[in-house]
Subunit: 338 residues, 2 copies
């Protein structure tokens, strides 16, 4: 099949690789209808994560089941499915506790940006749409595989509550989905920290009541002014680097919580600040499958439209251009069509 | 008055110092009935915190009001009061949010181990007993000034819930009070990590369902075996050093929360572990006043008896011996009588 392969930092190509095959009875294979590029794919692309050897890339995919293992009972070829980036059996003690991200049989989509993808733990992981989805819903369904679930997890981890206040650090696709989640969960004030006009617009469409373009101390001061002199109850850290974490720690109120979902790179948590002000830190890799049924309903009923984060669609052949566009921040998030 | 003064690490004396005086209209002065020595007093005593100059010490005190400032309306001379170690106005935005530890007018008891102590923000901070308390309740009332409220805060921050599981790291007075709190809050399994028999006994009296004497990896394995192979939902970190924090991170289940109340000394939080397993960290300095009304009721109704943590009572004259006894772990916690 044709599949995106990262050979080395900056060297991304569409290659021909062997098709995935059913290895375990719990596996399934999907024909990818739509894939996309994640902000976290940029870490190895930029060389900020090691790339020890060439490998297929892409952990987000939706599409049609083409083959299932002998133990898969809930899905059959022809089903249109959303595949969470983190696969889980949804039955182990971690899953039943709601920590599907730490499933005893955890797996990942590893060839999402390709024609076919293997899903381990298919029964526990995938959710299906009723028939072939309407074309206009496809981007939003695509967003459920990672970014919308991850933004939702940021909001839930930060303790967003109806009538409360939320501040979102990061205006990538996950941050924007965090704004949507915080708004949907009923936060009365949702502050998006963003200095990029197109992203500010999406944030407003997603329910941000305020946009703060300043960063650092000026940004923190602007947030506090909006919030009557105190910081936010719920802060969503949706980037994962040192600067964004420092920004996140500048904006919570005493007793507030930071929900972290940006994969940490070079981050240190300021334990003394956390301790003195009682600022909690929760979150991490999203237990995607936990949220999928609810999020799928919200998308199918057209209540939320996280697909707005896709501002560039490319054929899979042009995946390298997609990476460049995201790396240079010319695109928020790139949809790929195999 | 006679007051305990820390002159330098290891050099603690009962000196004569000026009596405290009302400085602000919101102040009150109490005649100390009972004081005690805190595990955190040992940090400077051991030289692990700087001691730049001689200073009075002791942040825990209960006693009788002898003088109030002109703005104090809820208390009068003769009232018997519990003084939270952290004073607050209980009306500022942080206090009304439940973060009294970060009150806009935060103050501290600074001469608890003495004949008299100044209470800033008396109206917002103190709670009074109905008349002079029964003698047998005095130790438990004393525990409310810090350790019981702090142990309670660990349990609340860790998210202890009825029917849940809790693991307590640290068998000092705060850790033991954390056991009592977790048990009172309804945790079905409460595991105390302690290898000191007298402390194990108190832990059991406080509701520990299990005691794990092993430490490190063996300790974590023992905890997980008790909990059916997964870790604890709620972990109470009640020490604050690197070893105890590492122990705490060995015992939560994925998706669990560590409630931290030990003042951090040389601690680094393992952000990658937190992220991958979704282990939250919450807590910090206790908002003591928030919990005092409820805890006072529980003590007065003899529902909880945190005073059991005091296993040595000394006259204030012998405060230096009290420090030695706690430093050498001959005593869990020392009660002082001026």
């Amino acid at each position: 099949m044709r599949a995106t392969v990262l050979h080395a930092p900056g060297d991304i190509r569409l290659d021909t690789v062997p098709d995935p095959v059913i290895d375990q009875p719990t596996d399934a294979i999907i024909k990818v209808d739509t894939a996309c590029i994640c902000g976290s794919d940029l870490w190895p692309y930029r060389g900020e994560d090691d790339v020890p050897e060439a490998r297929t890339i892409g952990h987000e995919a939706i599409g049609t089941v083409v083959e299932v293992g002998s133990a898969v009972s809930s899905f059959a070829p022809g089903d249109f499915v959303v595949v969470p980036f983190d696969h889980c059996d949804n039955t182990c003690p971690n899953c039943t506790y709601g920590a599907q991200n730490a499933c005893d049989n955890l797996g990942f989509t590893v060839s999402g940006q390709a024609e076919y993808a293997l899903v381990t733990q298919a029964d526990g992981s995938m959710v299906k749409t009723p028939g072939q989805p309407d074309a206009d819903l496809v981007p939003s369904l695509m967003a459920l595989a990672d970014v919308m679930a991850t933004g939702w997890h940021a909001a839930v981890s930060a303790g967003v509550r109806a009538g409360g206040t939320a501040v979102v650090v990061g205006d990538g696709a996950v941050g924007l989905c965090g704004v949507l989640a915080a708004s949907h969960l009923g936060a009365e004030t949702v502050i998006a920290m963003s200095r990029h006009e197109p992203r500010q617009e999406i944030a407003r469409a997603f329910g941000a009541t305020h946009v703060v373009a300043e960063r650092g101390k000026e940004g923190a001061a602007a947030v506090k002014e909006i919030l009557g002199g105190v910081g936010g109850e719920a802060v969503l850290e949706c980037v994962g680097n040192d600067a964004s974490m420092k920004q996140a720690f500048g904006v919570p109120r005493a007793g507030g919580t930071i929900g972290v979902v940006g994969v940490p790179h070079g981050v240190e948590l300021p334990i003394r600040t956390m301790f003195g002000k009682n600022i909690g830190v929760r979150g991490g890799m999203a237990p995607t499958r936990k949220y999928l049924p609810e999020l799928l309903d919200l998308v199918l009923s057209r209540t939320i439209d996280p697909g707005k984060v896709f501002d560039l669609t490319l054929p899979l052949d042009e995946v390298a251009e997609g990476y460049r566009a995201m790396d240079e921040r010319r695109a928020v998030k790139v949809l790929l069509k195999p």
